[in-house]
Amino acid sequence: MSPAQPPARGPGTDPRAAAAPGVDAPPKRRNTELALLGFAVVITIAGQCIVDITVTDALSPELATFSAWFAAIWLVAHLVVRRIAPYADPLILPCVALLSGIGLAMIHRLDIAGDQIGSAASREDAPVQLLWATVGLALFIGVLLVVRDHRVLSRYAYTLALVGIALLALPALLPDSISEVNGAKIWIRVAGFSIQPGEFAKICMIVFFAAYLVDKRDVLALASRRVLGLELPRGRDLGPVLVAWALSILVLVFERDLGSSLLLFGIFVVMLYVATERVSWLVIGLGLFAVGATAAYRLFGHVQARVDVWLDPFAYRNGAGYQLVQSLFGLGTGGLFGAGLGGGRPDQVPVAKTDFIAAALGEELGLFGLVAIIVVYLLLVERGLRTSLIVRDGFGKLLAAGLAFGVAWQLFVVLGGVTGLLPLTGLTTPFVAYGGSSLVANFALVAVLVRISDAARRPAAPPAPAPPRLGDAPTEIVQR
């Protein structure tokens, strides 16, 4: 089912008519986007149906409402993009729609599993997630409406940096009773709501990094000496990277959260590399990271526990490693083609809806399904990087590259944790995992990306006709 017929493109609304004659405007591809969005919605609804039929032999009564709501969200998003960002990349929204749809189907499936066990902790999380997606849509529209030109963001770079640092620091300063969940102090829990401000801080910091690096990249790209074929930067230019490093270490120490720390520092180092084209920054970043990680391992118990579990999960299978071992078993059970949606036991993994949703997907969809999902992420990231290549201003380039890399890096860290490649972190799979802050923040991120891609693909405005000279202007009678 397709959410709606594509609205006809009237000649009056088409700016192609306004373009200079003889120059054909590039295609906007909005109808492609609509078709792919329809496809993503169909896949989501199919997933829900399969879950219902496999597990309970009947369609759940809320299916119709759910489907209509989900379709409506993306239809509205599409119409808004068609209206205020008509040249935006046609693949960004469908990829996000498919990812959030698959996430919703899997959360629904885990809801049912919880009901069947009848555990007291079982909650209906899928409707809540749908509600969060609606909030996310509102923020998406809001960002697109307010930020009509992404370059405006660079003016608020330092304000955003302040906001970002405040958001990062807030959970560390609040008492544990408000901010701590499962050992990580990254939450703000007020009146039944829990917010993870780090997700929003991520976007603020990326905007700041982009603006800052555009300003300073000439200095940071200066080379001083060649050591082993590597052009080292000057000693005094190391300041910013050391500050970013210190910040991420502070996050690690005071919030006990490996994930945000790794995410922030990784994004900064890669953006530094993109801005300066100097490989030495990557090497320096890796070196600093190695130093920080070793120190953290020696000094902090929670880091040590994570690393021990990572090195040998089966030695801790009844304790700290239980989650990871269950996840590995799940992935193994899934095999190549998976157990089928609703056919596995993904609820065996603790907190499968948030941190371990990738393991649940791997179990039920198998390697083929999980790789398909990774390829959808890859497409999203590729569109972001492509936007970065074709956008004309340096700030937009860095911002798009930073946002796209942020998604890729977060996914890598999460999947690495779930599959035992990296130590576990508290990061969530973007768009897929259950969690309001993550979903809403990532919708805002997508809005910025859509805005930049609109600017990137929009044909350059034809040079404005020179205003008529005063002498040539026809006389007018001005009535008072």
Binding site: F39, I53, C95, D218, L222, F337, G340
Partner: protein, 154 residues
Amino acid sequence: MTAEIVLQVFRFGFLLLLWLFIFAAFRVVRADLFGGRTGRVAAVPPRAAPAAKRKGQRGLRTLLVTAGPLTGTRINLGEQAILIGRADDSTLVLTDDFASSRHARLTNRGGQWYVEDLGSTNGTYLDQQRVQGPLLVAPGQPIRIGQTVLELRS
């Protein structure tokens, strides 16, 4: 209980749907790469053409790069100011590690050319003198920016 065959159809059907989506998405990517244009090229009208016909005053007509990576590059002098730096929108785009993105500007004031430093990191030098405020440039006088040396020629 739902029949086993139905479950198998569901199981593989869903994977097929996922990959069909990816296939469709890749077709869009391909169309984007090889099909229509992506609005990347902004045709810039040749701005200097009318100015060049008018002939620069006092015989100064070209800016010549005499040293550095761009040696031999000539720019016709017109009425407009010439922006020199590593930024893409400069009149003379330098590929010099020691130049700033907006390094210096040459301006024509009443037929005479002045060089100004735009707050560059490594400075601009006229002969041996570091450029602080706008300085009058005589023909043949070397302007040094990083490793690049420029001269005004008639």
